[in-house]
């Protein structure tokens, strides 16, 4: 142990008589721990929300859709332009790295009505390898449609029309599009009720048997669009690029295009990107607060220990040697702050993850409660950044120490 570490260790001892120094030390530890806890909570909640929303969107709408280019401008989920892709092309797409499964989807605008009210919906029929698993975790009662004349509705629609399982409902399909009168009526039986918490989906989407809808709309091989599900939902941009190239290479048809989920829902993705900015902003603010607190702590220490600094200088101690004493002292404080900060940050996040204490409005946030994701890399980085603050925080105290002369400092009582 060198002399600086020895003196710093002595300063750390609790039997110091300097009450002011004691309270400023506690305050500094509290400040560092609070700042780190806030950073951890913002990272865990922000990343959690981002991941959960992306996961929800991808699981319901798929990460990529292949459809007619002009459908992107059509409202919401209505796909007026039908397309067809040969099985061989679909196989090639299926073989692209990271592609999990492909579903065929037929959709049409329809109205569900009973004696009391009606709702406008988008009726979908699904067929494909992941069709069996699709929406399974969102069904709150009943099952998905298997037979014709069956319909899976959302909880929103069931509440709106006062419908329960096995109730029948009159459905009018508008075969051409929303604005043209070419409807046919059918009685459908409610076979299941789902709830995704995503307002736009729950308000609009219903599901029926694929073959039934295909015959009803007199479509042969054509579909409204294809859903492409991925093994890793974060790879949607890369896979989308490959799919688009593949379609154009094979079909040389620029009307058929694949759209990644961020192209379909730019507003949601722009909003998600705000989370990252918020996390960075919160981290910068908290680091600034930490920096100021460590600086103040060190300045107070220097002022309190000016006599000691004078004595050390009179024994030939250099400014750098004296600063090292305070540096070691602040390392001790920062370590304590980091320990408590990590402890409280993880405690709060774990409690939220386990007990789901803070709820959210699903209409605005697409989730019921604040989701938590432990991004250990970012949390480690935050710890490291606070640690790196010490050399910066010591600059002002260093100037103060270098200005203290032996005669002046020894006069101070």
């Amino acid at each position: 142990m060198n002399i600086e570490q020895f003196i710093a260790k002595r300063l750390n001892k609790k039997n110091t008589k300097k009450q002011y120094s004691k309270s400023i030390t506690k305050l500094c530890i509290l400040s560092i721990s609070s700042c780190l806890a806030i950073i951890i909570i913002s990272i865990c909640t922000g990343r959690g929300l981002e991941k959960e929303i992306k996961k929800n969107l991808s699981s319901i709408n798929s990460s990529i859709t292949i459809e007619n280019y002009y459908n992107l401008n059509s409202e919401n989920f209505i796909k007026n332009k039908y397309i067809s892709i040969e099985d061989s092309t679909l196989k090639e797409i299926q073989n692209i790295r990271n592609v999990k499964s492909i579903n065929k989807v037929i959709s049409t605008f329809a109205i569900l009505s009973n004696k009391n009210d009606f709702v406008g919906i988008i009726l979908n029929g699904l067929k494909g390898s992941s069709q069996k698993k699709y929406l399974n975790d969102k069904i709150i009662s009943g099952r998905k449609p298997i037979n014709k004349f069956e319909i899976l509705i959302s909880k929103f629609q069931s509440d709106k029309l006062g419908l329960n399982l096995n109730d029948t409902i009159l459905s009018s399909f508008l075969r051409k599009n929303k604005y043209e009168y070419n409807d046919t009526h059918s009685k459908l039986t409610v076979c299941g009720i789902y709830q995704t918490e995503i307002e736009n989906f729950d308000k609009n989407l219903c599901f029926t048997n694929y073959e039934y809808l295909r015959k009803k709309l007199k479509l042969n091989d054509k579909v409204s669009y294809y859903q492409v599900f991925l093994k890793d939902i974060n790879k949607f941009k890369e896979v989308n690029y490959v799919i688009n190239n593949k379609i154009h290479d094979i079909k040389n048809n620029y009307e058929i295009k694949s759209f990644s989920i961020n192209e379909k829902y730019p507003n949601i993705f722009n909003w998600i990107s705000l989370f990252k900015k918020n996390i960075i902003l919160i981290t910068i603010i908290m680091l600034t607060v930490c920096l100021i607190n460590i600086s103040i702590f060190l300045i107070v220490m220097v002022v309190e220990r000016s006599q000691m600094i004078g004595v050390l200088k009179s024994f030939g101690g250099s400014n750098f040697q004296i600063v090292k004493i305070f540096f070691y002292r602040s390392i001790n404080i920062v370590f304590k702050g980091l320990f408590f900060g990590n402890f409280f940050g993880f405690l709060v996040c774990t409690a939220q993850k386990k007990f789901k204490i803070i709820k959210l409005n699903p209409e605005s946030y697409f989730v019921n409660e604040i989701p938590i994701y432990f991004d250990f890399y970012s949390i480690f980085l935050s710890n490291l950044l606070i640690f790196v603050l010490i050399p910066i925080a010591i600059i002002i105290p260093y100037i103060k120490i270098s200005k203290l002369t032996i005669s002046n400092s020894l006069k101070i009582k």
Binding site: I111, F118, G120, L174, K178, Y179, Y181, D183
Partner: protein
């Protein structure tokens, strides 16, 4: 060749016109949806088509059947267009306050018209609602659409008027204003528009003597609110099923006199010869001008054509007789 197969194919897709002079004191853009461009010269053509279509699909209306409806005239015209196309007979019951022109127009369209007294309660056997119901029970193979409680009315506007306004305004509409009678126009259109943007404000216009405003504000049906009024086509002494009060943010009362004067002003200053209730709707917008901001886009429904009111609000004698001028 560019032609329509039947006059009913021309229903809907009516123009949206900016109002300039009459709304000069109103902040924001006020756009009038001029429904007199429908082939039957009123917004009721839309529901005429939907009521008959849905009845046919449900099997309630069969070939050669008779349609019987209680109407202020315009629904009768809307139904008449479709009835002629599809070979149905049409009987309309009307209150005696309706303009002579409306009655003559229906007769010209081969519609049998029953005139009933206005100053009787809705459940009175002589009211135009009761007469329609009675005829429906007496005449075999007849269908009573009942535009007040039949949700096809609201559905017609959900499917056509709402999407048209949304597209015509590029989704920039902030306020939707319409007179409330059967409630189909305001509820169906508002339902569609609020599904698109829940922040759109929906204002209902109600004449003095009608029950809607009080019912909306207090949820009580106050018979004391009911007394005869002159504005045609809007206001009621019943609560029709088609009125969805949850979709309407605010009701504004408009007097017969103000509505009549505004209708005349609309013709003289904007060149739009519109019906009595059109003036009422526009009056409502002007009365509520303090609630509007510079960037607001207000769409107001002008339901019918002024030619049906030539002997009334466009007639100085009639106006003087009623002390409106």
């Amino acid at each position: 060749m560019n032609y329509s197969n039947h006059i009913s194919d021309l229903i809907g897709n009516t123009p949206l016109v900016k109002l300039n002079k009459v709304t000069k004191d109103v902040q924001g853009t006020v756009l009038a949806k001029i429904e007199s461009f429908n082939p039957g010269h009123s917004i009721k053509d839309r529901i005429g088509l939907q009521l008959i279509r849905d009845a046919e699909k449900k099997g309630i209306l069969k070939k050669g059947g008779t349609i019987i409806e209680a109407t202020s005239g315009n629904t009768g015209m809307g139904l008449a267009l479709i009835a002629i196309q599809r070979g149905y007979k049409l009987i309309c019951t009307m209150s005696d306050k309706q303009s002579k022109e409306k009655i003559d127009i229906l007769k010209a369209m081969d519609v049998k018209v029953h005139i009933c007294p206005t100053n009787v309660a809705p459940d009175h056997p002589d009211s135009y609602y009761s007469v329609a119901k009675k005829l429906n029970t007496e005449i075999p193979n007849s269908f009573y659409p009942n535009q007040y409680d039949n949700l096809s009315n609201k559905k017609a506007h959900y499917l056509t008027t709402g999407p048209e306004i949304w597209e015509q305004t590029d989704g920039k509409i902030t306020h939707f204003v319409a007179g409330v009678g059967t409630g189909g126009t305001i509820s169906g259109t508002a339902k569609f528009l609020k599904e698109k943007n829940k922040n759109i404000k929906v204002w209902g216009i109600d004449p003095y003597g009608s029950v809607f405003k009080k019912y909306h504000e207090t949820n009580t049906f106050d018979e004391k609110e009911i007394y005869p009024y002159m504005t045609e086509g809007i206001g009621e002494d019943i609560i029709p099923k088609n009125v969805d009060f949850q979709l309407i943010d605010l009701f504004e009362k408009v007097s017969d006199k103000d509505a009549a004067l505004m209708t005349r002003k609309l013709a003289k200053e904007e060149g739009i010869l519109a019906g009595y209730s059109c003036g009422a709707a526009l009056c409502g917008v002007i009365q509520l001008k303090n609630k509007l901001k510079k960037n607001d886009v207000v769409v107001v429904i002008l339901p019918d054509h002024g030619s049906r009111y030539l002997a009334k609000i466009f007639n100085d004698e009639w106006m003087k007789k009623n002390k409106f001028i």
